[in-house]
């Protein structure tokens, strides 16, 4: 009996797949630090993601209960080590709130200046490494070249390139050095020229759009429910920025500055006429939008630094002196959140009448932003995980504290 032979290339048969557990990290380069993700996958499709954190836990809060507020400033530097100035600012303002201190006008403008510069530096790292995650190496070099110039400015201000300890409770450790404003203006104008290049290689790049548009969509309701903040929240179309909506001392810091919260409202961004338009494939709340918010914030921060330089030149008073290391804290508690580049960074301090706080707490923005990852990456492809994670822009030093 002749057997009918079927060409195996023509036969359709089920490819059986098994569920597989994949361990990504803690040394995986696209986890941006020591984060471990346990992925449950079926073929290429990810059915669940479980983040494991704590590899960088350094007991920052416990240390804070054993040193005075000024001595804790260097520990805040090491939380979000890409935005040390903003971490210093958050802690300094919390202690000032507890003690009822106010800083001089000049101090305020210097703080705005260095914090916005640090925001630019942090967003540049976010954009550069995001390019790396998605397989494009060039933008990384562009971003780090520009960031280097900002770090040079910080080195001139306080001697450090990464861990500044420049903003301290009560004021600043020093005024700006002579000639700094001119150097800063040069840096800003060079940076301005690079932004369109970055938009060309990333924002409006066809491959970049395909990798990010419509991926990892985070709805505004879910973003608020999970406590997301910063560009992750604004990328979902929520107009919320503590520089405008924060507690009186935080919003007061920016009260005479002109800026608009960068978020899509009514179908358009405040600045998207001058920059690449939103591609048709992008959905509000996806990776592309989170990235776009950061890029527009870079431009916004350049404007804010310029305004601050102008105000700094016009302010006649001196820079405020920091509090003493042994300064006694009043009994009471104060909680304050500031708008750091990655989101709302909160500090809590409880004083018991001595120089050492009774309790110190750091509320990390990246911690909350990361907690939404299992929710937005359910059912995506394996290759989308780095894209989603990169768009959240987390820093493990701040998550693990």
């Amino acid at each position: 009996m002749a057997v009918e032979r079927v060409d195996p290339e023509l036969v359709e048969f089920d490819v059986r797949t098994d569920e597989m557990l994949i361990n990504m990290g803690p040394q995986h380069p696209s986890t941006h630090g020591v984060l471990r993700l346990v992925l449950r996958t079926d073929g290429e499709v990810v059915s669940s993601v479980v983040p494991h954190i704590g590899y960088l836990h350094r007991c920052a809060e416990k240390i804070g209960e054993n040193v005075s507020p000024r001595q804790w400033i260097p520990y805040t530097d090491r939380m979000d080590y890409l935005a040390g100035m903003n971490m210093n600012l958050g802690w300094a303002m919390t202690v000032e709130k507890l003690m009822g201190l106010e800083v001089s006008e000049k101090t305020r403008h210097v703080r705005v200046m260095v914090c916005e510069l640090n925001r630019i530096a942090s967003h540049l790292v976010a954009a550069g490494t995001y390019g790396l995650d998605l397989g494009s190496f060039t933008p990384f070099l562009y971003c780090f070249r520009e960031r280097e110039k900002i770090l040079n400015l910080f080195e001139a201000v306080c001697g450090a390139r990464l861990t500044y300890s420049y903003i301290v409770p009560g004021g600043l450790i020093a005024d700006l050095p002579p000639g700094w404003l001119e150097a800063c203006e040069r840096c800003l104008s060079e940076l301005e020229a690079v932004v369109p290049e970055l938009h060309a290689v990333l924002t409006s790049n066809e491959i970049f759009i395909r990798r990010t548009a419509g991926v990892g969509v985070l709805s505004p309701e879910m973003a608020i429910d999970y406590g997301c903040s910063g560009p992750v929240l604004r990328g979902s179309g929520v107009k919320w920025d503590l520089r405008r909506d924060g507690q009186p001392s935080v919003a007061g810091m920016y009260e005479d500055y002109r800026f608009e919260v960068i978020a899509q409202a009514g179908g358009s961004y405040p600045r998207d006429q001058e920059y690449p338009p939103v591609p048709p494939a992008a959905v509000l709340g996806d990776c592309w939008h989170r990235f776009y918010v950061r890029m527009l914030e870079v431009v916004q921060s350049i404007g804010l630094v310029r305004q601050a330089m102008e105000k700094y030149r016009r302010s006649a008073d001196a820079v405020s002196e920091p509090i003493k290391i042994t300064q006694k804290l009043p009994r009471g508690e104060a909680y304050l959140e500031t708008e750091a580049p990655k989101g709302q960074m909160g500090f809590l301090v409880i004083g018991d009448g001595t120089a050492i706080p009774w309790r110190v707490r750091a509320r990390s923005s990246s911690f909350c932003n990361l907690s939404v990852l299992p929710e937005i990456s359910r059912g995506c492809l394996l290759a989308d995980i780095p894209a989603i994670l990169g768009s959240l822009d987390i820093v493990l030093g701040e998550i693990d504290r």
Binding site: G54, E61, D225, G227, Y335, G353, S371
Partner: protein, 176 residues
């Protein structure tokens, strides 16, 4: 909504389970009984006039002075406290919710105090409660996945308790 009106609204609903309040503090707070936590949380989120949709942070604070010499001047009563920092994006008001707990359940050393979870009200609480459990040692009843989050799973003790003593050794590694 004025913080005084919020307090009135809560008092009207929960009566004696609203234990105390300080509306003049830098961060105005309202203290509630541990048994009322889940209901108060739900009301705060769902009432259209309150709409506390954003939970910023949960903090555990341990009030005890283990040093006998300093304990004489200790300004607080010995207890444990949870702070919930809330705000409303819709209305722009803020509130701190306090819950006082015993340091140990039933006064038995080693028995962690327990309170109802709010992770079903605000998802932020999921990870924050895990952190408080891990570092401060509070059990959250009804939490979907109460594991340690920052310390290793087999870590002993809760480091942010004031009487915490670190073990001499961890997996054969000297700790001090």
């Amino acid at each position: 909504m004025e913080i005084g009106l919020i307090l009135d609204r809560l008092k009207q609903q929960f009566g004696e389970r609203i234990v105390g309040a300080d509306l003049e503090a830098a961060d105005p707070w309202i203290e509630i009984a541990p048994t009322a936590l889940a209901e108060v949380a739900r009301l705060l989120r769902d009432d259209p006039a309150l709409r506390f949709d954003y939970l910023h942070c949960i903090t555990g604070v341990d009030y005890v002075q283990p040093d006998a010499k300093k304990a004489k001047n200790f300004p607080w009563e010995v207890h444990f406290e949870l702070l919930y920092h809330l705000s409303s994006m819709a209305h722009g008001h803020r509130l701190v919710l306090r819950v006082a707990l015993p340091r140990w359940q039933g006064g038995v050393e080693g028995q962690l105090p327990e309170v109802r979870t709010v992770s079903d009200v605000w998802r932020t609480a999921d990870w924050h409660e895990r952190e408080v459990y891990d570092l401060s040692g509070v059990r959250f009843a009804g939490h979907p996945d109460l594991r340690r989050i920052l310390c290793p799973e087999d870590w002993e003790g809760h480091p942010l308790r004031k009487d915490y003593k670190m073990a001499e050794e961890y997996h054969g590694i000297r700790t001090r």
